[in-house]
């Protein structure tokens, strides 16, 4: 069995929190912030935010994969008595 720890729960929450503004803004004008109309170096802010989020997620995947695979290549332990 694998163990669901705080690391996995907080990591998953963090990813969804980062993703949420983009999804909510897509779903409803209520989440369409006024700053999305502005620009950064000639690039509209919303696409710039999406690109920035892509870069952040790249780093997060690197961190998460480092942690996930840092444990020894131990065999998956079957819980005794699971055979139902």
């Amino acid at each position: 069995m694998a163990r669901l720890g705080l690391k996995q729960i907080l990591g998953s929450l963090l990813v969804f929190i980062l993703f949420a503004p983009i999804v909510l803004a897509t779903g409803s004008p209520a989440f369409r912030l006024a700053i999305y109309q502005s620009e950064v170096a000639g690039v509209p802010l919303f696409p710039a935010l999406v690109v920035a989020l892509l870069l952040v997620l790249m780093v997060l995947v690197w961190v998460f994969s480092s942690t996930a695979f840092s444990e020894a290549d131990a065999p998956f332990s079957d819980a005794k008595g699971d055979e139902r």
């Binding site: 909510l24 409803s28 209520a30 919303f46 131990a74 055979e83």
Partner: protein
């Protein structure tokens, strides 16, 4: 038709067939066919995983979507793979690698050894992979029709034939190397197109300014979301299904079985993410807006209703023509063609191994390596035939949308069972089967009753289910069903067969 495209297409076909011939001489055992003997290196596997992510959906479908509607809902499509990859690394990749051998069925049936669970895993893998395959074949058919003036049906059959040869002949080794070659080609061509776009416009800011002028939606409609193009349920369900669904995509998960150790698995994940992220940044940040800037107001590229010549999936190909004429178009088309061939090979691989290693073995009740490999080859051919037939029905669908459907089904059918298998001792066979079958059947039925199939394919006046993305409803329900049935069967059994886990 592009004169340059013909020799490049033939070269791609010859190279990939040579890889298959080479792989077929090395593949002898089940392990060779199902998992490339576990001998793929981290970087090679990273390229292959990236190749699986960067399908016709990314290159053709998502560029086409940006061209039509701007960032809404395209941004979600670009972000979901990396959100899903993060979740995969956090929750699934490492324990899955330790629990599995060749297929998702190995993981699901790991604790119980139940043939019924293995059978479900096989059916679910095939359903998801075939939906995904259809999207890729639709893209292939449109591409070849555009370039060679070939009939759509003949184009689809040609690709179907090639993918069957790769997998039946060379198994996972051939599928992986075809994927690696394609990933390298795709990285190079996306980088070249990105640089050419910026150079042609005179800077990234100029790309966006020209795009805003060319598109009838203007800057506010093109680059700001929330203009009512996607309702809240569809946006959340699409995001949820497409990101969480990645954890249930069999053709991606089995890639972690092809490397020799965890070090290589980690290296593959890092390499894949760097490649996917880099390509997506260029595709979303430059190629999408540049396609609008250079083609949207040009009648040479756009016909009635703002539809690009050749159909909605041909925007990236036409952009290459706008940038570098027939030569660039020919090279880009060849890369798109290689992309499709590689991805469909991976999907046929997952389908064939599920049919032989999970379904055949479950029905037969015992392992027979020689017969399993024969079934593997027959299943590869069968998957090709079914996908070709379905590709005719779904000819007018956007390929990115078809991929989202596959992920929605994966999210509902596989993810609850995989996660609970890995993390919850209380899971019983009855619980896993009930939740899995509920998720699979409900998601497929709701997709059929939704606008994309019920209205656009089956030509009814109005959909019975209002959204094309049922994952947000079905996946939590599948979790509840799995847990409830597991609890019920644990407490009811009482006898030795249902002893609580130690």
């Amino acid at each position: 038709m592009s004169n340059v495209a013909v020799p490049i297409f033939i070269l791609v076909i010859l190279v990939t067939l040579a890889i298959t011939w080479w792989a077929s001489r090395r593949a002898r055992s089940q392990a060779d066919y199902y998992a490339a003997g576990g001998k793929i290196t981290g970087l090679q596997n990273g390229l292959a995983i990236a190749g699986d992510f960067m399908s016709a959906t990314t290159f053709l479908g998502m560029t086409g979507m940006f061209f039509q509607t701007g960032v809404d809902p395209t941004a979600i499509y670009y972000l979901c793979p990396l959100v899903g990859m993060s979740l995969m690394m956090l929750l699934v990749a490492a324990p899955l690698r330790r629990a599995g051998k060749f297929t998702l069925g190995d993981v699901m049936a790991r604790r119980s050894g139940s043939p019924s669970l293995r059978l479900f895993a096989g059916v679910s893998t095939i359903t998801i992979s075939v939906i995904y395959l259809v999207g890729q074949l639709v893209g292939a058919g449109a591409l070849i029709s555009l370039l060679f003036g070939l009939n759509y049906g003949i184009s689809v059959i040609l690709v179907g034939l090639l993918m069957t040869i790769y997998v039946a002949g060379g198994g996972m080794l051939a599928a992986t190397w075809v994927q690696i070659v394609k990933a390298v080609m795709l990285i190079v061509i996306v980088a070249v197109i990105g640089v050419m776009c910026v150079a042609k416009a005179g800077g990234i800011g100029a790309v966006y300014a020209q795009a805003a002028q060319a598109h009838p939606l203007g800057a506010a409609g093109l680059f700001v979301p929330g203009a009512g193009k996607t309702d809240m349920f569809s946006a959340v369900s699409l995001a949820f299904g497409t990101s969480v669904g990645l954890m249930g995509l069999p053709h991606l998960l089995i890639r972690f079985f092809t490397v020799p150790d965890v070090k290589a698995a980690k290296r593959s994940a890092v390499a894949a993410t760097a490649i996917i992220g880099g390509v997506f940044v260029v595709m979303f940040g430059i190629v999408g807006p540049a396609a609008v800037a250079f083609m949207r107001a040009d009648p040479a590229f756009v016909g009635k209703g703002g539809m690009v010549v050749g159909g909605p999936n041909m925007v990236a190909i036409q952009l290459a023509k706008a940038l570098g004429g027939s030569l660039m178009m020919g090279v880009t088309s060849a890369v798109a063609f290689a992309t499709i061939l590689a991805v469909v090979s991976g999907l046929v691989m997952a389908t064939a191994s599920a049919a032989s290693h999970d379904i055949y073995a479950a029905l037969k009740g015992r392992r027979d390596e020689k017969r399993e490999l024969m079934v593997f080859r027959l299943a590869a051919a069968g998957a090709g035939v079914v996908a070709i037939l379905l590709a005719f029905a779904f000819q007018q669908q956007n390929v990115a949308f078809m991929t989202a459907l596959a992920m929605g089904v994966a999210c509902s059918a596989n993810v609850p069972v995989v996660l609970l298998t890995l993390y919850w001792r209380g899971l019983t066979v009855a619980g896993a089967l009930s939740g899995g079958v509920f998720g699979l059947v409900s998601s497929v039925v709701l997709i059929v009753l939704g606008p994309a199939v019920w209205v656009k394919v089956l030509h009814h006046a109005a959909p019975i289910f209002p959204s094309d993305y049922p994952g947000l409803l079905v996946m939590p329900a599948a979790f509840v069903v799995t847990v409830a049935v597991s609890l019920a069967t644990r407490s009811n059994a009482g006898a030795a067969a249902a002893q609580p886990a130690q």
